[in-house]
Every structure is written in structure tokens, then in C-alpha cells.
């Protein structure tokens, strides 16, 4: 009897202990939001909602607005997805349908390994290799042939929105491609064979069977890739140019929330300046939180439906 109670209490203690740590994870998250919220109070009081839409950013006069970094974050992410989605789908299709069997595993592994390379390496490569190339060859060519569109006008500086988006795209391609490949591999072979048996071409099988079947997973992968791109710091900071300008031109330097934080946080001298930077961080956190929550809900709904 005595021994039985002791065993029982050992279990209870163990259970309580693990529960404490699980609650710790939740507590950490809550503290994160509360601390950011509290420390950005100074800036929230000073600028209110206008903070989000003001394009002032002047440490001398202590006027701060988040619009330029927010705009830069959204535009660079959007462009990166624009480049990355078709390429990733192409890679996934190649890996599941076209590549000879001996090539699939090594190629797939290579793509997965590339997702493990630290983002600072992508950023540095962008600065030293891609940016000069963009400045000397790609941007002058685009300017010459498409310069009548405001997006491709202006001086070719190499660093700027376009280069940042390209580096960002390179960084998320391995991620989206490998998840999409896994999704494609989950399509039942019977369905595909049935379609081939009806005389469909490879593309028709992909369009009518593989992609619709894996749609949920693909959208989930894109959302997760988006979450990464929004908060990515190092790949962007090197090449975005860090300038507070709003410009139609994609060649022009800009700023993202993460790159603003990386460049200015340790140098912020005024309390209001620091508080505004913290509010920027809070905004970034809330944006990614929203995107990631949507991704979670979407994937969960997907799982429930496929359970049925």
C-alpha cells in the first residue's frame, strides 16, 4: 500500500514537472508579446495608429513612422514568392515526374541540404556576387528594354529591392520545393496510373490529379515560406540598401523591418527611437504571427478533411 502510494506520487510529480515546462513554452510566448508591447508604449503613445502609415523616419527630429519598412517587407516578400513559387513547383514536378529514378534521391537531398545553409551566407553571396552582376549587366539591360515601365527605371546600383527579393527567393526555394515534392509524393499511385491509362499526358496528370490533390499542402508550404521571407533578416540586410525612400523603381534601395532593426537597434540613442524600433519588431511579429496562424489553421483543416 505504502509503496503503491509512493509510485503514484512519483508519477504525479513527474507529470506536474513536464506540465510546468509545457506551460513554460506558453509563458515564454506570452512574455514575448507583453514585453514588446510594454516597451513600445512610448512610441505607441507618441504616434498612435499613424505610426503604421507614416513614412517619416528621422532620428534627429524624433519623428518615426513604420510605413517604409512595412512596405519594403511586404514588397520584397511578394516579389520573392513571385519568383520562388513557379520555380519551386517546377523543381517539385521535375523531381517527382520527370527525373530519372537514379537522379531523384541525390537531387532531392541536395535541395534539402540547401535549405539548411544559414541565411547570412545567402546574404553575403548576394552582396559580393549577385549585386555587382545586377548592377553591371541585368539592371542596365532591363532598364534599356523595359525602362518605360516605372518599375525598371532609375540608376543601376545593384543593391536594392529587386536584388533583395532575388536573394530571398533563392533562400526559400529549397524550402518550398522540398515540401511540395513531399506533397506530390503522397498522391496515390493508383490515381495517377488511372489518368495515364485514360491517355493523359504528363502535364495533364500533373494539372488535373497531382496539383489538385496536393493543393492544401502546397498552399501550406507557400504560407510557411512566406512566414520565413517576412522575418528574414540577414539575407535581406546585406542587399536591400537601407534607405528611407518610397520609389516605384525596383532598382532603388529600400528597407525592411528586419533590416531596419539589424542596422539601427544598437545605435538607437533616444528612448523614443528605441521604443519605435521595438514597435517595429512588434509589428513584424504580429504580421508573421497572422501568416503562420493562417497556415496552421489551413493545414489543420486540410488534415481534418482528408481524415473524413
Amino acid at each position: 500500500m505504502n509503496q503503491a502510494t509512493r509510485k503514484l506520487s512519483g508519477d504525479t510529480i513527474f507529470r506536474a514537472l513536464t506540465m510546468t515546462f509545457a506551460a513554460g513554452v506558453v509563458l515564454l510566448f506570452v512574455t514575448l508579446i507583453v514585453v514588446l508591447w510594454k516597451e513600445s508604449q512610448l512610441s505607441i503613445d507618441a504616434f498612435g495608429f499613424g505610426f503604421l502609415f507614416s513614412s517619416d523616419w528621422n532620428p534627429v527630429t524624433e519623428k518615426f513612422g513604420a510605413w517604409i519598412p512595412i512596405f519594403g517587407t511586404l514588397v520584397s516578400t511578394f516579389l520573392a514568392l513571385l519568383f520562388a513559387i513557379p520555380l519551386s513547383l517546377g523543381i517539385a514536378l521535375f523531381l517527382t515526374e520527370l527525373a530519372p529514378a537514379w537522379l531523384r534521391t541525390p537531387f532531392g537531398t541536395a535541395i534539402e541540404l540547401l535549405a539548411a545553409i544559414p541565411s547570412i551566407v545567402y546574404g553575403m553571396w548576394g552582396l559580393f556576387v549577385l549585386a555587382p552582376l545586377m548592377a553591371d549587366h541585368v539592371q542596365p539591360w532591363l532598364g534599356e528594354h523595359l525602362g518605360f515601365i516605372p518599375l525598371f527605371s532609375g540608376p543601376s546600383m545593384g543593391i536594392g529591392m529587386l536584388t533583395a527579393s532575388l536573394v530571398l527567393a533563392l533562400m526559400i526555394i529549397p524550402f518550398i520545393a522540398s515540401v511540395t515534392r513531399d506533397v506530390f509524393l503522397m498522391v496515390p499511385q493508383n490515381l495517377k496510373e488511372a489518368a495515364y491509362g485514360l491517355g493523359c499526358t504528363t502535364w495533364e496528370v500533373a494539372r488535373d490529379i497531382t496539383i489538385p490533390y496536393g493543393k492544401k499542402g502546397i498552399v501550406g508550404a507557400v504560407f510557411l515560406g512566406m512566414g520565413r521571407a517576412l522575418g528574414e533578416t540577414m539575407a535581406v540586410t546585406f542587399v536591400i540598401g537601407n534607405a528611407y525612400h518610397l520609389s516605384w523603381s525596383l532598382f532603388a534601395p529600400g528597407n525592411s523591418i528586419a533590416s531596419t532593426l539589424a542596422n539601427e537597434f544598437t545605435e538607437a540613442d533616444g528612448d523614443l527611437y528605441l521604443s519605435s524600433l521595438i514597435e517595429l519588431g512588434l509589428v513584424l511579429f504580429l504580421i508573421t504571427f497572422t501568416v503562420l496562424t493562417l497556415a496552421q489553421l489551413w493545414l489543420r483543416r486540410g488534415m481534418q478533411e482528408s481524415d473524413r
Partner: protein, 278 residues
Amino acid sequence: MNNMQRRKIINGTVLVLSTAAAMIGLVMLTWILGDVAIKGASAINWDFFTQLPSPPGDEGGGLANAIVGTLLMTVVATLISVPFGVMAGTYLSEFGRQTALGSTARFVADILVSAPSIVIGVFVYLLVVKTMGNFSGWAGAIALSIIMLPVITRTTEEMLRMVPKEMRESALALGAPYCKMLVQVIYRCAMTGMITGIMLAVARVAGETAPLLFTSLNSPYWMQSMNEPMANMTVALFNYAMSPYDDWHAKAWGMAFLITMSVLVVTIITRISLHKRS
């Protein structure tokens, strides 16, 4: 042109485009790795591992303090996050599958896995650096441990769940209390998987820069303790690459090479061990 021909042409076009996409991806990525390997390997020599950084603009010197700093902070971060993450993961898998706390913690961990690491840096700055009054190696290690924690929590949960039900049942049937069954049977079964998860988390933070920018900062000196700013490879890489000196650029490539190689080696080892298991 009849329907069949049209379909064949569309099919051919798409297949060519898809192959082209794969080729573009492969070329870009070999290009990046190639540059890192070629420019990085030539910057690495004995001094790189043994000497302190030389003053700005001077040639020579090395990054011994940054290499040690990165290793030390990664080890401390691992020591903090492993017990925390394993316990939290145990709760999620064993006691909290259906509870409100379980699903909240699971959701929060999934969000934290992809949360912007720079925001974690800001958070730790406010929590630790501001309280302690100075940048420190401790702050850096804490920031890294916060990034590792959700990864370890979720992989531990997955790995514990994969242990066959029969293992649990037979241990319990022998009269083992629940916690004894967990520690002596379930943890042992899931050990390889859990270690893999921890290794992947280590590989991830070894290349993290953003959370260290405002926590450990960087330093050109040997560390005296973890209470002061601490040199590390990624922030040094950032500073060196942004500097105007050619010699520093070469060293930045050297660090990029070293970091990329270590991360890839760890990732490959874990993949092989996972592969053997499945």
C-alpha cells in the same frame, strides 16, 4: 493542328519549363556553394584558427575568439534548451494530447519555430541585456536557446509518439510506474530520434546571426567570462563583410565556408542516422 498535337505541344512545353526550373535551381545553388567553397577555403589557414583578429585595416590575424565564442554559446544554449524542450515535448506526447494546455503549447511552439529570429533578439535584449546593463555571452546563449526550444519540443513529441504502443503496454504490464516506463523504455526507444532533433536544432542556431546582433554583440578580444560581449562567427562575418577592407572580406568568406561546412556536415550525419533507423 489537331487536338492531339496541341496537347503534345503543351505537354512538351511544360516539361521543358519544369526541367529548366530544376536546372536554374541547381545552377544557382551550386554557384553559391561553389563561391563559398572556393573563396572560403583560400582564406582558411592556421592563423585563422589560432590568432585574435588584427586591428581594422591590418592584414593577418585570425578569428580564434569568434570560433570559441560560437561554440561556447551554442553549447550553453543546448544545455538550457534540451532539458526544457524534452520535458515540454514529453508533456505534449504523454499527458497533453487532448488537453487545452497541450494544444496551446503545441500551437505556440509551431509559431515560435518560424518566428522571426530578430524579434527574439529584441526580446532578449529587453529581458536580459537591459536588466544586466550590458551585452553578454549569456544573453546570446539565451537568445539561441529560445530559438532551439520549440524545435526540440516538437521533435521530442513526434519521436515519443512514434514509439510503438506495445512497448508502453508491456512495460506497464510488468508493473512499472508511468514515469519509470517513460525514462527506461520510451526515452531509450526514441533516443536516436530525439538526438537527431537536437542536432538539427544545433545546426540551425549555429548559423543564426540576427538574435546575436543585440545580445552577445561581438568583440575583438578573448572572453574573460560570459558576462561581457562575446565574439562569435556570424556577427563577425556580418561586420567583416560590411567593412571596406579586402582582407576582412576574405576572412568573411572563410567564416562563411566554416559555418556552411559545419552545418552541412551535422545535417548529413543526422539524415544518415534517421535513414538507417527508418
